[in-house]
């Protein structure tokens, strides 16, 4: 009997050791630097608050940590969309002025691999900027750093919250440099194929409500038309 108890206690300890290693694994780092920060091309930015109640509409399965907003919005409770959330928000330009309407659909990805520090979300943006045109953005986002540095510490804290400054790029693909893929649909963006990076700037998080103070920025690279047309030297 005592051998069985020793084995079970040892197994529980082994699982704990392994999970601690995953949590502290220094090889899974948060991406602090945007790949677009070294770009020579023009970069346009769209900013929005990532807090659900600051969106025009935010909905999910209704059982998740973040409560849908407004309260009476239709919820995504069906099995096929249960792990999906939808956000409609006003996107602001670099000066803080309303510049576009953005619809973002995000779904938990089957590419999630905890062993590699990948908590992947597949998301798409559908953006319309009056006077400019429309865009489609496809991206994979990795929330491992967000979970490790915000959500888990918040759960462990006595107040069940987190406060601080956390700034990181969450885009992890599908581009080779960890950028998202942008496709222009109309207006000045028609035919555009480019890259983008979305980053989060978190200041406060609550276990009960999710993000309390968190801004997001979607930076889209606009390649110079003349650069595409010029010949190699």
């Amino acid at each position: 009997m005592k051998y069985l108890v020793a084995l079970l206690v040892g197994m529980a300890g082994g699982v704990a050791v392994f999970l601690t290693f995953l949590y502290l694994n220094p090889l899974t780092t948060t991406n602090r630097l945007s790949a677009l920060s070294v770009s020579d091309n023009q970069v346009i930015t769209f900013n929005y608050s990532a807090v659900a109640t600051d969106a025009l509409v935010y909905t999910n399965d209704g059982r998740s940590q973040v409560t849908p907003y407004p309260a009476k919005v239709l919820q995504l409770w069906e099995p096929t969309v249960r792990r999906t959330d939808a956000r409609v928000t006003v996107l602001r330009d670099g000066r803080g002025q309303p510049a576009a309407i953005g619809v973002k659909f995000s779904s938990d990805s089957e590419k999630t691999n905890v062993l590699n520090g990948e908590a992947i979300v597949d998301s798409v943006w559908h953006i319309y900027a009056p006077g400019q045109g429309s865009l489609f953005v496809e991206q994979q986002e990795n929330y491992w750093g967000y979970l490790r540095e915000i959500a888990i510490p918040a759960r462990w804290s006595s107040g069940k919250n987190w406060r601080g400054t956390w700034n990181a790029s969450i885009t992890s693909g599908p581009g080779a440099l960890g950028t998202s893929r942008v496709f222009g649909g109309s207006g000045i963006f028609a035919g555009l194929e480019s890259d983008a990076v979305e980053s989060l700037n978190a200041k406060a998080y609550s276990v009960e409500h999710g993000p309390v103070a968190m801004d997001a920025e979607l930076a889209i690279e606009i390649p110079r038309r003349d650069a595409a047309l010029s010949q190699d030297p």
């Binding site: 300890g13 319309y128 006077g131 109309s186 207006g187």
Partner: protein, 191 residues
């Protein structure tokens, strides 16, 4: 007993690693794809949106009864000609398979814009740009501009039409938006 304890630790580490490797953390629920193969006309798949039950958002300035209730749509002049809608989208068996957004807008630079994004979590997303003017018969044509995952290698067309409800049993049902996709894989020549 100490050896048993150490063996337990090793077993625990190996078990946790094996479980995380072999058991998927995320396993999206799937519905069977209802694709119809036509003789010499490629493949079509029909989706629909029941109105009003599948409407999540109608974003238009100055609505007397906004949907959802409590929605505060921006009243900036620049968004006056913009209509953004979000829906649940269903397959031929009337099962919800994803969500979709439709943006209809008009401005001097982009002209008349009507676009869809279909997001089917288990399959991928499709970005569809529609023609501004409807065809004779009341339907509108569009083309797949780009897609992700399952839709990434595809090209093709989408038709959108409104079908009014004829049901005598459901007075609340106004009708449905029918979306028929005709997508095929792109031909890639071997190098």
């Amino acid at each position: 007993m100490f050896k048993t304890f150490i063996a337990g630790i090793l077993l625990g580490i190996a078990g946790a690693a094996a479980a995380l490797y072999y058991v998927p953390v995320v396993d999206q629920s799937r519905e069977q794809s209802m694709i119809v193969v036509h003789p010499n006309h490629g493949n079509t798949e029909t989706f629909h949106i029941n109105i009003p039950t599948d409407r999540i958002l109608v974003g238009v300035p100055g609505q007397a009864e906004p949907l959802p209730a409590g929605l505060e749509w921006p009243d900036d002049l620049q968004f006056a000609a913009t209509r953004a809608e979000v829906f649940k989208i269903r397959n031929g068996k009337d099962a919800v398979v994803g969500v979709a957004s439709r943006i209809a807008a008009s401005d001097e630079v982009a002209g008349d814009v009507i676009e869809w994004v279909f997001h089917l979590p288990a399959r991928g997303s499709a970005y569809v740009v529609m023609e501004a003017q409807p065809q004779e018969g009341g339907y509108r044509l569009g083309s797949l501009a780009t897609g992700t995952r399952e839709f990434a290698p595809l090209v093709g067309h989408v038709t959108e039409r409104w079908v009014s409800s004829t049901s005598e049993f459901d007075d609340d049902m106004q009708g449905r938006i029918e979306l028929i996709t005709a997508f095929v894989g792109q031909f890639v020549e071997d190098e």
